[in-house]
Symmetry: C2
Subunit: 151 residues, 2 copies
DNA sequence: TACGTATGATTCGTGATACGAACTAGGAGG
DNA sequence: CCTCCTAGTTCGTATCACGAATCATACGTA
């Protein structure tokens, strides 16, 4: 119906069973599912896990998190509220601009953040386990190219 | 900290700014975001849109939908309830096995399903717009390889 | 300094999402 | 008939996501 049926261009790549777009949707679903599974193992939700993973490199202002997570300010407030209530993060007021609050991990949050971050990376890389290193590097480069310029 | 820092292996692929796993997470986020944007244009939620897209090829039993969407039975019941309330789908009892209900699109649901399906594919393919056809085909093949065997 | 405006974040109300446990209805085998 | 299994629903709870309204702070300008 559309232009989505891919044409086999190389001998090695056989006949693709779906086009790029459908593949992307499926892939996104798989990633989301992996996130959900790992989160459940640590008694977290996917959103909470993603928040923790955003913080492993240090405190981040609410506004930045809002942009990174594609969340409205009010949605982020709620998410941080719930995670703070569990004692995994804390808010620190910025001294330079007292309007902004930086979110940082507590000790337990740091532990959970590192664990879930590591597990996620392991599981996702394992998805590409049987792809040769060369192809995998190119896959990474192509993905980087797609997400570049999307925030 | 982990083995995620990619090593530049070819002259053409420059220095990647992140590894495969992080790229996958970002990509999943972008796809999710596209889904959300399109859904909003049609006054739907992402989940409702995904449900409609699942039905464009004909009626599907609840149990199958549950598996395809990675949803518990009760969650799916709620989702179908809300979409049915909007008049986009209807439930039909299966004559052979009167326990199963097949979900199918109404006329309006069909229209919305087709429209959102088309828009989603267009927008996602546009994401790879500046990638040469050769690379794009390989990207599709590699993605297919990753999601193969994940249900 | 005082005023108006812009920005960062929270509060509140609403609807959607997702889950598990308990339940109902229908099939399948003895 | 009785039991077991499966397909879906109901119900209660927690989370998620949004927009409008609000509060506090910063900043420019008169």
């Amino acid at each position: 119906m559309t232009h989505t049926e891919a044409v086999p261009t190389e001998a090695g790549t056989a006949e693709p069973e779906f086009g790029l777009a459908v593949g992307l949707v499926r892939l996104a679903g798989v990633v989301q599912h992996v996130f959900g599974e790992i989160s459940r193992e640590y008694d977290l939700t996917s959103q909470q896990t993603q928040l923790l993973c955003m913080l492993v490199n240090g405190p981040v202002p609410m506004a930045t998190l809002s942009r990174l997570l594609h969340l409205e300010k009010s949605s982020l407030t709620g998410l941080v509220d719930r995670v703070e209530r569990r004692g995994l993060v804390r808010r620190q007021r910025c001294a330079q601009d007292r309007r902004v609050w930086r979110v940082s991990l507590t000790d337990e949050g740091e532990r959970l953040g590192n664990d879930t971050h590591r597990d996620t990376i392991d599981r996702l890389e394992k998805l590409a386990g049987d792809i040769p290193a060369n192809d995998r590097d190119q896959l990474t480069a192509l993905i980087a190219r797609m997400v570049r310029g999307t925030g």
